[in-house]
Amino acid sequence: MTQTRNLIDEQGIRTDGRRADELREIKITVGVVKNADGSAFIEFGRNKIVTAVYGPREVHPKHMALPDRCVLRCRYHMTPFSTDTRKNPAPSRREVEISKVMRESLEPALILEDYPRAAIDVFVEVLQADGGSRCAGITAASLALADAGINMRDIVAACAAGKVDDKIVLDINDTEDKEGGADMPVAYMPHLEQVTLLQLDGILTQGQFNECIDMAINGCKKVYEIQRQTLMHKYFGSETELKEE
């Protein structure tokens, strides 16, 4: 996390041309994997991630089944071609951790008690990585779960904020992640107003922390609007937003 060059210029513009509170361009498509019960493909800046949800389905091995609720299993994986240098396809320590935090960030949104003795599998495959892939993965996985028709309390939107050149900025990219001061991924349920993921890599003061989390939550709300539009468009067509009859 040692800073070697200025990542924000005098006009407050970042290395990729964004302002401090600006998200990268987000494009989401739902229902891309026909074999899956639900799926989504997200382009979050230069991140490209495909997610697929299978279930609720029978649990194998059977001893993993829970009598009162569904088992949620999550697999985050980066393809060998997703980074500049080849990534070993075997699950790394980082991928195992991200799989765990991803599961924990999605679990509060799901009504798992509705499917006892069953399992839901979420696969998150990173095709191209550019920093913030766990947030993009959670955002897409949440839509894939909704697409699979699983009962949910809310949709989870995720977005990171961080510290670059001692300034708090929204949605940090790969360069800012590696060379910046701090990275704070946040996942958030907008209707319930609950945070389901909060991680922090770096050092922030109390004031910076508050500013950072506020900015990340605002980012999540913007991401949620895109998620909602995507789902409405997929299921009800372009001309029918929230239509009351």
Binding site: D37, A119, D147, M152, H191
Partner: protein, 266 residues
């Protein structure tokens, strides 16, 4: 208090505020009611429900389902009903109460791979679904083309008072067995009729939530408009009752008019 009748929702959307009864796919938080699925929220006299547009089949007691025999023990068959739970058909249900595992050969009645039409006799959170074939029109399905559609599309395929499926059956001269679990078996006199029927069913599945679907299905099936209904003779329907094509078309017309009036999407 009641501001609307139908509304498009995604999980987490607030449907309404107030003291309503929750029927399906909705949860209460404080004084508000939220949707838990993508679908159409409806406020009725009974309460609030969200008709889902996606999702796998979750068994319910008394549902008619089509299943495939995948295994058997000495006392029951295991049946795949396109759900996260595999169902069981007790041998006593087929052989009668005097069934003896030593005497009766289960393989002679139902072999692995056979398709059966059955009713869910019992199911709850703690146990797998139990099936029965002791009802009219239930039992082994001897022939037909097998296809799967999403279980959430089954009500649209059946249509109002069975109008959609009757139209498909009559126009293609086929018999269509529909399971609530989304498994369908089509059998017909000619392979052309069967193929056309399957095409129509797939079209209903893909375009279930779009407007004027009935009209497009009519065009696909080349169903004549009222005034020249003689194109199709009366046929035997799934329930074994003879019905005039004319009345079916009339129903479809009525349905269409209703749809236009309401401006319905589904």
């Amino acid at each position: 208090m009641q501001e609307f009748k139908r509304k498009y929702v995604v999980p987490g959307d607030k449907i309404v505020e107030g003291n309503f009864r929750l029927l399906m796919n909705a949860i209460r938080s404080g004084n508000s009611i939220f949707a838990t699925r993508i679908g159409i929220a409806e406020v009725g006299r009974d309460g609030i429900k969200v008709i889902p547009l996606s999702g796998v089949y979750i068994p319910r007691v008394n549902d008619i389902v089509i299943g495939k025999i995948i295994d058997h023990s000495s006392l029951s068959w295991e049946v795949d009903i396109n759900s996260c739970f595999s169902a069981h058909l007790p041998a006593q249900d087929v052989f009668g109460r005097d069934f003896s595992p030593a005497r009766d050969d289960m393989g002679r009645q139902l072999a692995i791979g056979d398709l059966i039409s059955s009713r869910i006799m019992a199911f709850d959170r703690t146990r797998d679904p139990m099936l029965t074939i002791q009802d009219k029109d239930l039992g082994k399905i001897p022939r037909g083309e097998f296809l799967k559609i999403s279980a959430t599309r089954v009500p649209r395929l059946i249509g109002k008072r069975g109008s959609m499926i009757q139209m498909i059956e009559q126009a293609t001269q086929t018999r269509v067995l529909i399971g609530q679990n989304g498994i369908i078996v089509v059998s017909g006199r000619t392979s052309e009729g069967t193929k056309l029927s399957i095409r129509a069913i797939k079209m209903v599945e893909e375009e279930a939530h779009t407007a004027n679907l009935t009209q497009r299905i009519k065009v696909l099936l080349n169903v004549q408009e009222p005034g020249s209904q003689d194109a199709f003779p009366p046929t035997q329907t799934q329930n074994g009752q003879l019905e005039e094509v004319q009345s079916s078309i009339q129903e479809v017309e009525e349905e269409l008019e209703e749809e236009v009036k309401k401006g319905e999407k589904v």
